[in-house]
């Protein structure tokens, strides 16, 4: 129960920062995608299935404010969290700089996937010539924020059950 409360609080704070602070502040000309970053860390910390659930809900929260079709961020965050969780469980669980790097790369892939999905759904202004630049710079922003967000998410999952799942 405490884990869920901590996780919900972490997600809500990330969401609020995304729709307040990072509406105005654009490091390198883009806004970091905090919900995506949270989803990736949930996948890494809690595994594929629990990460996907957390990703779905943080994405859904972001969908409430984001002007894209409702459910698109939920879908994106759910899938990237699941993939990150699967990679961490079955292949390699990176730490330190490698973890931040892989989170940055996964963020770029997630943003590109989101934009392409939006374009497939008929939304204009997503799959444009700016997309590679946006994806790269979001990856860079999320890479820099990754150590901090990673700590918060690991703290959120700090319970015997979650630690067993993450181990």
């Amino acid at each position: 129960m405490a884990t869920r409360v901590r996780l919900a609080a972490a997600m809500f704070v990330a969401f609020l920062l995304q729709v307040t602070l990072f509406v105005e502040v654009h490091p390198f000309g883009v806004a970091p995608e905090l919900p995506l970053l949270v989803a990736l860390h949930c996948g890494r910390a809690a595994g594929a299935e629990r990460g996907a659930t957390a990703g779905f809900f943080v994405g859904l929260l972001y969908d409430v404010q984001h002007p894209t079709p409702f459910g698109l961020w939920a879908l994106t965050c759910c899938i990237v969290a699941y993939l990150m969780g699967n990679l961490s469980e079955n292949l390699h669980r990176p730490t330190g700089l490698l973890a931040a790097l892989s989170t940055g790369i996964a963020s770029s892939v997630g943003v590109a996937g989101f934009a392409l999905a939006a374009a497939i759904l008929g939304q204009s202004g997503y799959a444009t010539a700016r997309l590679p630049r946006i994806a790269l710079l979001v990856g860079l922003c999320n890479l820099l924020l990754s150590p901090l967000v990673g700590r918060v998410i690991r703290w959120s999952y700090r319970s015997p059950g979650a630690l067993r799942a993450a181990a």
Partner: protein, 260 residues
């Protein structure tokens, strides 16, 4: 798999315009609105510092002041150019009902675009509580800025005139056409319906035409003709919007819900 299916179901319902989903979204946004406003206030010093670092705040403010002054001058000039008598004749010829003193609601732009892809909308601090409704036109003292696409109780989202999805019926002299946005920093474009020999020149003022159940009342300044291309056998006009959509602080929402 269940979560993916849930997300796909939500997407599908959203595309079909499922009413309860929209109501829930609007309700959640209304609940979150005061929280966002509070967090915005608390984070303002950090936001200002961040903007100072990444956006060179002072230069931006100075640019904005100059831009606003310039826009006001441009808007006045366009309105002045359209002679009142000519306007009366045009209105009579085209059977456009003149819309007089339509009530307006002044609003402050409180947030820009969310995320990295929504660069063609801004959020204002007035909503349905102030009598606003979806599709109402949004203007500045210079001219048309956009229209409302989402209206919550205390906030609304404005689709800017430069958005690729934005379309407005326009009038250039006696010719009418449909102009649409082409993306940020690019002009509006009007094509089709204009005779190839129409006397349209670079610099001509462009106003809303208000015809055929238009979402916009007539004679709001939209911009000026930047270029006239007749090479393809039809007339294609690029139009410089009269209002710069970046850095706007205050707007007025015209409480107009469509021509009768």
């Amino acid at each position: 798999m269940l979560l993916v299916l849930s997300a796909v179901t939500l997407l599908s319902l959203d595309f079909r315009g499922f009413g309860p989903l929209t109501t829930v979204q609007r309700g959640l946004r209304s609940v979150l609105s005061p929280v966002r406003a509070g967090v915005d206030t608390v984070l303002q010093p950090i936001t200002d510092a961040g903007r100072g670092v990444f956006d060179y705040g002072s230069l931006k403010d100075e640019n904005q002041r100059l831009r606003e002054a310039n826009e006001q001058l441009k808007g006045k000039k366009i309105q002045g150019e359209v002679d009142a008598e000519t306007l009366k004749r045009l209105l009579a010829q085209n059977n456009i009902p003149y819309v007089g003193d339509i009530p307006r609601v002044v609003a402050r732009v409180v947030a820009g675009s969310i995320g990295n892809f929504d660069e063609f909308s801004v959020e204002i601090d007035k909503g349905s509580n102030a009598g606003l409704a979806k599709d109402m036109p949004v203007v500045t003292s210079a001219g048309l800025v956009g229209r409302l696409i989402e209206v919550d109780t205390t906030r609304s989202r404005v689709q800017l005139i430069t958005a690729p999805q934005f379309a407005v019926g326009v009038r250039i002299g006696q010719e009418v056409s449909l102009a649409h946005g082409t993306g940020a920093r690019n002009p509006l474009r009007a094509e089709g319906t204009i005779p190839i020999d129409a006397p349209i020149n670079i610099g001509d003022p462009v106003l809303t035409n208000g015809q055929d159940r238009s979402r916009f009342p007539p004679d709001i300044p939209v911009g000026r003709v930047r270029s006239v291309d007749r090479s393809s056998g039809t007339v294609v006009l690029d139009i410089d919007p009269v209002t710069s959509v970046s850095g706007i602080d205050f707007v007025a929402v015209i409480r107009f819900t469509g021509a009768p």
